[in-house]
Symmetry: C2
Subunit: 257 residues, 2 copies
């Protein structure tokens, strides 16, 4: 049918009960038919993990009322696979959206992010996909100001599609709506986490470690990065691809063998 | 000291007791001083996951005799972080090698692979890194024929270094040494797993799923891919980068906002 509403799969990595996914579902319901398949527990930092050594559980959930929803024991990438190949019986969704993540996924965090792995998994499946993240780690952040940008970006993708194999990584600064200066298309900043391991002892005297660290941006003078954008009150959009080949290096090392 | 041996960190994703890491350690001991930090249990399919919601355990291990070794409760990426920032007290290793994985990590598998996430984590840390995988999933594969290629590739990297932010993804076909035709530098094949979920019921009558599927190569006519190389009895080498930005798409969508 020409006037059929777009089919939109919603997932995340903070878990199905988080405020971020509830906000994203509310916005998507204005734009299409929504099916939710999301983790039953937090999956932050899961990167592009998939569940191959353990069975997966998938149960219907009524926490979003009439909206079709499932909670899954697996990772965000598992959720996308289950949505496409089991829940939708291989009917391809028109869009997969992931988030809204509680916390930034700018720069190198795209690699560790379950939010973005869900979007990239959808891109591998040939489905246009967007991961949304807000730079606020609290459990109840204020999402009110991001709604217009989410809707604007999703409408563009539904209308124009995305290049094959590409997913968008969208990050919102935690600012009031009136302080946001607009949307900027960026590149991934060259940055890393400078890790510190916090060493402690458990009640039995055995050592354990907490991973901790500081974010270090090596692109401090560049104005075309996602980190620059959010630090200057723009919403950042980075198109991400899953072909990791470093073509220039390939030319260099071809002479080695 | 000018004649100081290179410091080589060895890790993997199949776990510290696997045959693949033992083989890799034996080869590396000819080329440098080896420090092992590897998962205490299989971590296949963990992608670039890191452990942020749970504490990490790290214990010394004597399973490799005099070789310094630690077993870690975390992911392959955690192991690299712990090796650099805790075990080596921020002395940068000259090389991080990961594997030898039991099973291919060609094409799209680079994203799901704990083996390659360890190598890419090292690249983020600015350390030259290589992930090695053999196309044989058995617990006791025959590694005899890969030794020469591992050594040849590692010597090139130790002598020439690698471009910043690049790690090598090396895959060996499961063939006898005399059938291997050489080493080819390739690009990541455009392929995916076509998932099938195997639905079962547990003894309590509740449904569960096993992730399963077939590998589908969309690059069947290309001769420059890693999948083509291993299928034609070459060892494949793909340089991988962690900047995921799709620069061409960025140009296209800049007009959207």
């Amino acid at each position: 049918m020409a006037d059929q509403k777009p089919l939109i799969v919603v997932t995340n990595d903070d878990g199905i009960t988080s405020h971020g996914i509830r906000t994203l579902i509310e916005i998507m319901q204005k734009l299409g038919t929504v099916v939710v398949v999301a983790p039953n527990a937090p999956q932050s930092g899961m990167g592009h993990a998939i569940t191959i050594a353990n069975p997966l559980r998938l149960y219907p959930s009524d926490i979003f009322g009439d909206t079709i929803a499932y909670e899954c024991s697996g990772t965000p990438a598992d959720c996308v696979k289950l949505a496409k190949h089991h829940v939708l019986k291989d009917r391809a969704p028109d869009l997969v959206v992931s988030g809204i993540n509680h916390g930034y996924n700018t720069s190198i965090s795209v690699l560790y992010s379950g939010t973005m792995s869900a979007a990239i998994e959808a891109a591998i499946e040939g489905i246009p996909a967007i991961g949304f993240s807000l730079g606020d780690f609290s459990r109840q952040p204020d999402f009110s100001h991001v709604r217009d940008h989410v809707e604007q970006i999703v409408r563009q993708v539904l209308e124009n599609g995305l290049d094959k194999g590409v997913a968008l990584n969208v990050n919102f600064p935690p600012r009031a709506a009136e302080d946001i200066r607009g949307i900027r298309v960026c590149r991934q900043a060259n940055a890393k986490w400078q890790e510190v391991f916090d060493e402690r002892r458990d009640p039995h005297g055995r050592r354990y470690f907490w991973l901790d660290g500081d974010f270090v941006n090596f692109d401090t003078h560049a104005e075309d990065t996602d980190v620059y954008a959010v630090e200057n009150n723009y919403t950042s959009v980075v198109p991400c691809q899953y072909d990791l080949t470093a073509y220039k290096t390939a030319e260099t090392i071809r002479g080695w063998f």
